[in-house]
C-alpha cells in the first residue's frame, strides 16, 4: 500500500468530524455512532496498511543501507513568515510516526466501538449529545494523527493546540455539570501555559536555526536522525547565551516544558486527575493512551538535539524520575479508581521520559555522547505497550463504573463473580503494567530499567523501586475492586458484564497486552533507524520481576481479604497518607496562585486602576473644564460699568505688556 495513503488516514477523521458535527444533528443517534465506528475502522485498516508497508515493505525506498529513514509524503506551505521561515502542513513517516499511527488508530477504534455501548443507558438509549461525542472523538483522532506525522516543529505545535482543544471539548462533554466544566477549563489552561513555553522554545530555536523543519534540524542526509545535523543546527546558535546557559538549552528546555504540560509531568500534572470528569472511554483514549504521550513523542522527535544539549536532558531526567515516584506514591492511596489509574498513567509516562533522558548515556558510549539509544527504543516500546494495557485498564474501569455507577472502590468490592470477563481483562492489564513476564509491560519496562542502570545504579534502583510500587498499587486496585469482600448490591439489578460492544474491545486489548511484548521493537523503532541488537539483561530482569512480585504479594496480603491492616497502616502514617491522598497539596497551591495572587492581586487592581485612575483622569479633565466654566461666569455680571472696566483694563494691559516685552 503506497505511503501516500496516509493522507486518507488524516483526512477521514476530519471529514467524519464535519459530517457528524453538522449533519449528525439531524440523524439518528445510533446511526451516527455506527458511522463513526465504520469511518474509524477504515482509517485503522489504512493506517495499519501504511505502517506495515513502512516497516516491512521495502519497495517504498524507506530503507537505505540498513537505515530506516523518514519519508515525507507531501508538504505544502501553510503560512510563510519570511521567505525562508515557512510553516508547512505535511505528512512524514518515520519509525515512531508509523508506530504512533498504529497505537492511535487501534486505541481509537476500540474506544469508538466501546462507546457505542458505554454512551447508552441501561435500556440501550443513546445519551444526549451522542453525535457531538462521536464528532469530537473524530476531531481528536484527526488532531493526534496530524501531530505524529508532522514534518516540522510548528506543525506539532499547531496540533498540540488542536488535541488540547478536543481534550477540552471531551472533558467538558457533560457541560451541565460544573465539575466537568471546571476540569476542562483547568486542563486547557494548564496545557496552554505549557504551550506558551513550547511557543517560546520554537521562537528561539527557529530564530537561531532559521527553520522549523525536522529534515534540517535532526534528519541527516539519509533521512534518519543524525547527531551531526543536530550538531550543526545547535551550532547555528553561535554559542549565544542567556543567563549563562546557551540559548539552545533554553529553547529545548522550554520545548520540554511544553511537552511536560501535555504529558502531565510534575508540576504540570494537576489537570490530568481532574480530566477524569470526562466520559471514561475518553479518558482511555486521550488521557491514558495517546494525547498524554504527545510530550514524550515531542522529546523523542527532537532526540538528537537533546542528546547534544545535555543540560536540558538532565532536567528531563530529574523531572521524570521524580514524577514517576510522586505519582506512584499518590496512586497508592487513591480511592477513586479512575484517579488512581490517572496517577499510574502519570507515573508510567514519567518512566518513558526518564528512559528517553537516560538514553543518551546508556551502556557503551560511542563517539560524542550519542549512545546507541537503548533508552529511546525502550521508551517508544513502553509507549506502545502502555497505550495498550492502560487503555485496557481504563476500559475495564469504565465497564465497572457503568455497572455500579460509581468511581469509588468502596462501592465495588468482590465484583469478580459478577463480571468475570472484565475481571480477567483487568488482571491481565495489571500483570502487564506490573511487568510480569511474558506480558507486554515486562519487556518494555525491563529495557527501561536497563537503560537507567546504565546511566547510574542510583537511577536504576530508584526506578526499580517505583516499578515495585506500580505493581503494588495496581494490584491494590484490582483486589479492592474484585475481591476484598462480598459485593453488596446497591442498584436494583446486580452488576454484570457489559454488552459485546464493550467487552469485545476488552478482549482484543487484553490479547494485545499479552502478545505485544514480542514485537521486535529493537529492529523497528530506534533513534537512528539502524537495528539495535540487545539481549535480555538477566540480572535487571530478574530483580525487577522479583520487586514486582514483592509488590504484588504486599498488595495481596493487605487487600485480598477484608482485614484491619490497611486501616492500621493508615492510622500509623496518617499524616503521610493524608498528604498523599490530597496529592501533596499541589492543587491547593495552584488554587492559591491563580485566585489569590493573579486574580485578586493583579487582575482586580488593574481593573480598578483602569476605572479609577486612567478613566478618572479623563473624567477629571471634563469636570475641571465644567467647573472652570461655572467659576468664571461671575465675570459676566450684567453691569455695563464692569464691562467697560474689563474693556479698559484689557486694552491697557495689552498695551503695557507689549511695551514691556518690546521696549525692554
Amino acid at each position: 500500500m503506497p505511503l501516500s495513503y496516509t493522507i486518507a488516514v488524516i483526512a477521514i477523521p476530519l471529514l467524519m468530524f464535519f459530517f457528524l458535527g453538522l449533519a449528525g444533528v439531524k440523524m439518528d443517534k445510533k446511526l451516527t455512532g455506527v458511522l463513526g465506528v465504520i469511518g474509524m475502522l477504515i482509517t485503522t485498516v489504512i493506517a495499519y496498511g501504511v505502517a506495515l508497508t513502512y516497516f516491512f515493505g521495502s519497495d517504498q525506498g524507506q530503507v537505505a543501507d540498513g537505515v530506516r529513514q523518514a519519508v515525507v509524503v507531501f508538504n505544502p506551505d501553510w503560512l510563510s513568515f519570511t521567505k525562508t521561515l515557512v510553516v508547512r502542513m505535511g505528512i512524514m513517516l518515520d519509525p515512531i510516526a508509523a508506530m504512533m499511527l498504529i497505537v492511535i488508530t487501534t486505541v481509537s477504534l476500540m474506544v469508538h466501538l466501546y462507546s457505542l455501548g458505554y454512551m447508552c443507558d441501561h435500556h440501550g438509549h443513546a445519551e444526549k449529545g451522542f453525535q457531538r461525542y462521536y464528532a469530537f472523538l473524530a476531531l481528536f483522532t484527526f488532531s493526534m494523527l496530524g501531530l505524529v506525522v508532522a514534518t516540522n516543529l510548528f506543525q506539532i505545535f499547531i496540533f498540540f493546540e488542536m488535541v488540547g482543544l478536543s481534550s477540552y471539548l471531551l472533558i467538558g462533554f457533560y457541560y451541565q455539570s460544573p465539575a466537568a466544566v471546571h476540569a476542562s477549563k483547568k486542563a486547557f489552561i494548564v496545557t496552554r501555559l505549557a504551550d506558551l513555553f513550547f511557543l517560546l522554545g520554537i521562537m528561539i530555536l527557529s530564530y537561531y536555526t532559521g527553520t522549523f523543519d525536522f529534515d534540517q534540524l535532526v534528519f541527516g542526509p539519509n533521512g534518519a536522525n543524525s547527531l551531526e545535523v543536530a550538531q550543526s543546527a545547535i551550532a547555528t546558535g553561535g554559542g549565544a547565551t542567556f543567563l549563562g546557559c546557551s540559548v539552545m538549552a533554553w529553547a529545548l528546555t522550554f520545548i520540554f516544558i511544553g511537552g511536560a504540560g501535555k504529558s502531565a509531568m510534575y508540576p504540570l500534572h494537576i489537570w490530568l486527575p481532574d480530566a477524569m470528569e470526562g466520559p471514561t472511554p475518553v479518558s482511555a483514549l486521550i488521557h491514558a493512551a495517546t494525547m498524554v504521550v504527545a510530550g514524550v513523542f515531542l522529546v523523542a522527535r527532537l532526540f538528537p538535539l537533546y542528546v547534544i544539549e545535555q543540560g536540558a536532558m538532565e532536567i528531563i531526567c530529574v523531572v521524570g524520575a521524580f514524577t514517576a515516584f510522586y505519582a506512584a506514591a499518590i496512586a497508592c492511596v487513591q480511592s477513586d479508581i479512575k484517579r488512581a489509574l490517572a496517577f499510574s498513567t502519570v507515573s508510567q509516562i514519567a518512566f518513558m521520559m526518564t528512559s528517553l533522558a537516560v538514553s543518551s548515556a546508556d551502556g557503551g558510549l560511542i563517539e560524542i555522547h550519542g549512545g546507541h539509544g537503548l533508552g529511546f527504543m525502550a521508551s517508544m516500546f513502553h509507549l506502545f505497550t502502555h497505550a495498550m494495557f492502560k487503555a485496557l485498564l481504563f476500559l475495564c474501569a469504565g465497564a465497572i463504573i457503568h455497572a455500579v455507577h460509581s468511581n469509588e472502590n468502596s462501592k465495588m468490592h468482590g465484583l469478580h463473580k459478577y463480571m468475570p470477563i472484565t475481571s480477567i481483562a483487568f488482571l491481565i492489564g495489571c500483570l502487564a503494567i506490573a511487568g510480569i513476564p511474558p506480558f507486554a509491560g515486562f519487556w518494555s519496562k525491563d529495557e527501561i530499567l536497563v537503560a537507567c542502570y546504565a546511566k547510574g545504579t542510583g537511577w536504576g534502583i530508584w526506578m526499580s523501586m517505583v516499578a515495585g510500587m506500580t505493581a503494588f498499587y495496581m494490584f491494590r486496585i484490582y483486589f479492592l475492586i474484585f475481591h476484598w469482600k462480598k459485593h453488596e448490591v446497591h442498584t436494583e439489578h446486580a452488576p454484570s458484564d457489559q454488552p459485546w460492544t464493550m467487552t469485545l474491545p476488552l478482549i482484543i486489548l487484553a490479547t494485545i497486552s499479552i502478545v505485544a511484548g514480542f514485537v521486535p521493537a529493537h529492529d523497528l523503532v530506534t533513534w537512528d533507524g539502524k537495528e539495535l541488537h540487545t539481549q535480555l539483561n538477566w540480572t535487571v530482569a530478574g530483580s525487577s520481576v522479583l520487586i514486582a512480585c514483592i509488590g504484588i504479594g504486599l498488595a495481596f496480603k493487605m487487600y485480598y481479604k477484608e482485614n484491619e491492616l490497611p486501616d492500621k497502616l493508615q492510622a500509623r502514617f496518617s499524616g503521610l497518607w493524608e498528604a498523599a491522598y490530597r496529592r501533596f497539596y499541589m492543587d491547593e497551591l495552584y488554587q492559591f496562585i491563580t485566585h489569590k495572587v493573579i486574580f485578586q492581586g493583579i487582575c482586580k487592581p488593574i481593573a480598578k486602576f483602569d476605572r479609577g485612575i486612567i478613566d478618572g483622569f479623563f473624567n477629571l479633565l471634563a469636570s475641571v473644564t465644567g467647573s472652570a466654566a461655572y467659576g468664571i461666569r461671575r465675570l459676566q455680571n450684567g453691569s455695563i460699568q464692569s464691562y467697560v472696566y474689563v474693556y479698559l483694563v484689557g486694552a491697557l494691559a495689552l498695551a503695557v505688556i507689549t511695551m514691556v516685552c518690546v521696549l525692554i
Binding site: R633, Q636, N637, G638, S639, Q641, Y645, L648
Partner: protein, 103 residues
Amino acid sequence: MNLTLLMYLVPSLVMFGCGVYGFLTRKNMIAIMISLELMLNSVDINFVVFNRYLFPGQMDGMFFTLFAIAIAAAETALALAIIINVFRVARKVDINELTKLKF
C-alpha cells in the same frame, strides 16, 4: 506766553480720564452720557492740537474733529432716546437697573 503742545495734551488727557472715571462711577445714565461726551471731546482736542502744532500744513485733523463732533451728536441723540425708553419701562435712569441679562 506761547503755549506748547503739552499744555493742550495734558488737559485733554485729564479730560479723557475724567470721562472714563465718570463712566465707571456714576449711577445716573445721563451723567454717564455726559462723561462719554467728555471723552469724545478730549479726543477732538487731541486731533486739533496735533494738527495745529505738528502738521500745520494740512487740515486732516480739523476735518476729523468736525466729523467726530457730528458723530458724537448722533450718538448722544440715540443714547438719549434709548435712555428714555428704558425710563419708560423701568421708571428709573439708574444704570444698575440694567443687570437682568447676565452670566
